[in-house]
Symmetry: C2
Subunit: 350 residues, 2 copies
DNA sequence: TTGTATGCGTTATCAG
DNA sequence: CTGATAACGCATACAA
């Protein structure tokens, strides 16, 4: 049978009001009453009915999600729709979930942080995209006593309640293990990707480190590994020139590893030039998937980005609403996707 | 703002009782009232508050899960714990979830079906392990108007509300694509597994068909594919003898495909005989995982068995409680697992 | 410091 | 056929 607040009130010979004050530690409760209640709780074992609680609740919680604009960076479409899913699932609860988008530039990020703080949220889900700005943001959050959960990029120094995302180093190892299996004896590997500036996000570096260290650790002969850096502000044709030139000069390169989500850009160039290579990239953007179906991209590493958005909000909700404290690091699976299992990935069952 | 039942009652100028009767189609509602209510619902847009509903509900729903005993067949440990997870998550709701186990023999299955029927469930989650018995069971369910969801094995003829599990043919293709990538030019493939009788479950055949048809469709040269059948009632040493003999006679076999969850049995034999082959198997039993960590098994195909159990119960709950009708076929992902991404699979985030 | 009463949105009963 | 009203378990304002 279910133990209610009245049950333990009766047992302890006090009123429900007193029990409530004891449970929520609000108001004053005499020592004598406290003891009687504790005794009753121990004997009967009280578990609050979270549904009834929500119904009676006056306070409305607020969760703000600070994400890169999905219209700017395609990757963020999926986490965004995960957040939407959480929103609709929590619609019966006394919680509002607000989304604040930023374009992936520092000023925009700072502005969004400001907006999030002003929103008077109880909890914030955010992507710590810029190091210093994120640390500063986190400081403000701690001052105002606002809980925060990081998604996709891990910045432990900011001391969030939790992080949810992939382990980028391990993901790099997984990518390497696939290349290792696919390669022939004297094949060389090229690591290349289109990025913003010389200095890129730490998790891209971790994906590369994991990749190269896989071969360092491996007992078999280590393949040659080349690097080629392409800048996003350069022209597409410039990329094409650089890449095709490189591949002509290094014909033993048979495998290309793209440690960010823009493998489709590389695939597009190779496709146009009829250059047949094995490509391993990240993330299930529609563009990437299309090239995989055509056989141009061979493997994609998935990180269940939709679930990341969904889980982050749910974690925050549970932390706020049921006072659960989440695991501090929640690593997502490192999914290996090819042409054949892609159709069944993330989102069949919504 | 949230539209409640009273709001639409007021708007339609009737009482909440009438609105309730209209919504739940219970009792009689006059045509005039019906029209006014429909009008109000259309204008205001009513969504029931599921939490308040649960609080007020008198009826307690009952869901029965009919599963193979996890102590008999290791595979079922994970679906079982998925069911447990659903149970704890739904503990606040007016629903009880009962588990009925059977050993994988016909009489046991029949007995369990009987027990499930007698339990007077509103919905049943089951594994249609035996064809005729399952059809007969389904007939009884339809007669008694009990909803049913199939898990793991698909038997559409029994007309369940939904199926949740993996597409075995596609899973076979995925396994083949991995073997294809790993193989060298003249490598041959062996398909072998330890099974109960000559006649095995349809989904194992589908896994084999998907596998072989992959190579039929492929443009590159088709590898030799051998078959070796091992019976579960034979001795372990008998299996060892058969398998090692076979491999000695066919030294060009470098890749072994095990289309059921007992790859660890094959791995154990090869390990003992120091025979180095590429092994691809199914399902993340602890025994399989252990051999994968050692490098004896190279790939496992995962089917998120825990989520299968969890989702099946949740689907049934939503069907019963919120009258949602689920998609009839819910295919799970076909997960590619190796030594490197295994650690992050299913269950980090509970 | 403590107890009582009212309301949250829905269901279900019972008298009209 | 319809309307009024008492639950459900909890939170909270207010009275004692």
């Amino acid at each position: 049978m279910k133990i209610r607040i009245v049950d333990i009130a009766k047992k302890a010979d006090v009123s429900v009001g007193t029990v409530d004050r004891y449970i929520h530690k609000r108001g004053k409760v005499s020592k004598k009453a406290t003891e009687k209640i504790q005794q009753a709780v121990k004997e009967l074992g009280y578990e609050p009915d979270i549904l009834a609680r929500n119904l009676a609740l006056k306070k409305e919680f607020k969760i703000v999600c600070l994400l890169p604009d999905p219209n700017e960076t395609k990757y963020w479409e999926r986490p965004d729709s995960g957040v939407d899913k959480a929103i609709s699932e929590l619609s019966s609860f006394k919680v509002t979930i607000e989304k604040v988008f930023f374009t992936p530039r520092l000023e925009s990020f700072n502005k969004a942080c400001q907006k999030a703080i002003e929103a008077q949220a109880d909890g914030i889900v955010y992507v710590p995209m810029f190091l210093d700005a994120s640390l500063h943001f986190a400081e403000q959050l701690h001052q105002k006593n606002i809980a925060s959960i990081q998604i996709n990029i891990h910045l432990p120094e900011a001391q969030p309640l939790a992080f949810i995302g992939q382990n980028p180093f391990a993901a790099g190892e997984v990518a390497a293990s696939l290349c290792d299996m696919a390669r022939h004896e004297n094949d060389a590997i090229l690591i290349t990707y289109i990025s913003k500036k010389e200095q890129e996000y730490a998790h891209h570096h971790a994906r590369i480190d994991g990749f190269t260290q896989y071969f360092d650790k491996s007992s078999s002969a280590k393949p040659e590994i080349h690097h080629l850096s392409l800048k996003i502000d350069e022209d597409e044709s410039q990329h094409e020139l650089l890449l095709t030139q490189f591949l002509e000069q290094q014909p033993q390169v048979k495998i290309i590893y793209v440690p960010n989500s823009r493998a489709y850009r590389i695939a597009s160039i190779l496709d146009k030039n009829q250059t047949n290579k094995i490509i391993v990239g990240f993330d299930t953007l529609n563009e990437n998937i299309a090239y995989m179906q055509q056989g141009i991209i061979d493997f994609l590493i998935g990180q269940q980005s939709m679930s990341q958005g969904y889980n982050a909000v749910m974690l925050m909700f549970n932390a706020l609403f049921r006072k659960e404290d989440p695991a501090s690091t929640n690593y997502m699976p490192i999914d290996i996707l090819n042409k054949f299992n892609m159709d069944f990935y993330e989102g069949v069952l919504k």
